[in-house]
Structures are given as C-alpha cells and as structure tokens.
Symmetry: C2
Subunit: 129 residues, 2 copies
DNA sequence: CCGATCACCGTAAAAATTACGGGTACAACC
DNA sequence: GGTTGTACCCGTAATTTTTACGGTGATCGG
C-alpha cells in the first residue's frame, strides 16, 4: 500500500520549503468563465528610447503586455518575431479587440501576427518528476 | 474586514460543484526541477491515412505529441503551420534531442521550426474574474 | 402576499495538516 | 571501528482547515 500519511505530508512540506512547490492554484475552466477562445500573437518591437539597451527595452514592453489580465503568457523569442503572446477571449472578435485596442496601443509594439487556436490537445504547467 | 470564513468556504464549494474550479495543482519551479529552458515548436503534418478525415488525423497526431511529459502545450492553429507545441527542457541540446529523437519520429509530423525562448515575462493559466 | 430559490453566516462535527520526537540508514571523517 | 551529522521515515497528539447542517434575510415570479 502507500506510505504513511504523515510521511507523505512531510515530503510535501519538504518540497514546499525547498521551493520546488511555489504554491497552489485552482485549475479553472476557461469556457465556463466565458473565455473559450485562445490565440497566439507574434509581435515585433521598435526601439523608441535611444540610448537604452535594447533587451532591457524589450523586457519592459513584455512586462507591459503581461499586465493585461486576458494575457496568459508573454515570451521573448528567437526568430523573425520578438514576442510571443498567448491570450484567451470570448471569441475571435474579442481577440481582435484585444489586438487592435490594447496590444497595438502599447508603446513599442510595431507589428503583429495573430494565430487562432482551433483545438488544444494539451495545456498545462505540469513538469516531469 | 473580509467575509465570514464559512461564507468564503461555501462560495468556493459552489465554484467547485459548478465546475468553474476543476481542481487544484501545485505551482512548480521549472528551474529547480531541471527544466529552465522553454521552446515553442511549429510543426506541419502529412496525411498518411487516405480516406480518414483530415482534422481527425491532426487531432490524433496532436494527442500523440501531447503524451511526451516534457510537452506542456499542443495546439492546432491557423496559419502556415498546423501545430504549435510548447516544451520545457534542461537546455538547448535537450530541446534538440526532443525534436530530433522524439517529435520527428511521430508518424505524420512532416516539418518543424523550433523557436527558443530567451525570457518569459508571464506564464500562467489564470483567468480574469 | 406567497412560495421558491439562493446566498449569507453561525455552531458543531469531521477531516486535514502540522509539530514534535524517536528510530534508522548512510556517508564523511578521525 | 567508532563517531558525528544529516536526511528521511513514521507514529502520537495538537492544531487548523474544511464540511455539515441549519436558520435567516433578500429577491423574483406569479
């Protein structure tokens, strides 16, 4: 059978104290919260602040984008684009409003390419081990 | 001050019973678990099973990719590529091994484009409200 | 006005988690 | 070999969290 219950608890406590487990969060149902639609948005960036190092600037813009509550992820990436942004909204029109009215008004956002999600096979922050 | 404790509990219970809260998960520290490196991989797909409807096929391939434990997200998307995959690994070489040894051996995966993440400003499954 | 429904909120019971301490395994060191 | 230190296991008992179960008031439709 399994280990004694107090052993299990002390192992969990060890993971919490060591920082492997940072905390706990509810797993939410996006559809029931009115956001069944997912999109990924690629964005490029201009450097509006001469004299400031560029990566710092990108990080600040990324942080700005991250402040929108409908944004779940913001990554600075390699390749043809600078930023990869994941958003959840009510429908395509809602995603459109986010891109046009919010994202494109952020200073430094130059150009965007929106990529809608048809279907999601997996979406988690789980890690092996 | 806040609401009475039993009121808070009954509100949470309502969210659980109604399905808005599906459950609870630990928030893990990817770096401490040996996976500090994130990559997004775009993949295109071939249709190896004539006579089978294509979207079904794509869904099956997506499910196959989703079985790898280092994969956190698999989405079927609009645009030039079919699949968007998010992976966490030890380093770039580890991501490379995943793409070459695992992802490209999945039947139906045709072509891939790997995009490394330099920095992540936000990464969550939280939702507004 | 009435009945039904729903959320609020208290007490008391039940269940979960923690605190604490003894025991064991293992490695480093003298 | 013996000793020391560390880390984990695991039990009892205390503590805290969570649930069960009403009673109350607000709201809504008829």
């Amino acid at each position: 059978m399994g280990s004694p219950i107090t052993t299990v608890y002390s192992r969990i406590k060890r993971l919490e104290d060591s920082g492997v487990i940072r905390g706990y969060k509810p797993v939410l149902d996006a559809a029931r919260l009115g956001r069944p639609t997912t999109a990924f948005i690629l964005a490029s960036i201009t450097y509006r602040t001469p004299g400031v190092e560029e990566t710092l600037d990108q990080r600040l813009i990324a942080q700005e984008v991250a402040r929108f509550p409908e944004v779940q992820e913001v990554h600075i990436i390699t390749g043809d684009w600078d930023l990869l942004i994941k958003v959840k909204g009510r429908d395509v029109a809602d995603i459109g409003r986010f891109v046009v009215d919010k994202l494109r008004t952020v200073r430094g956002i130059e150009k965007t390419l929106t990529c809608m999600v048809f279907d999601t096979a997996k979406e988690t922050l789980d890690l092996p081990l």
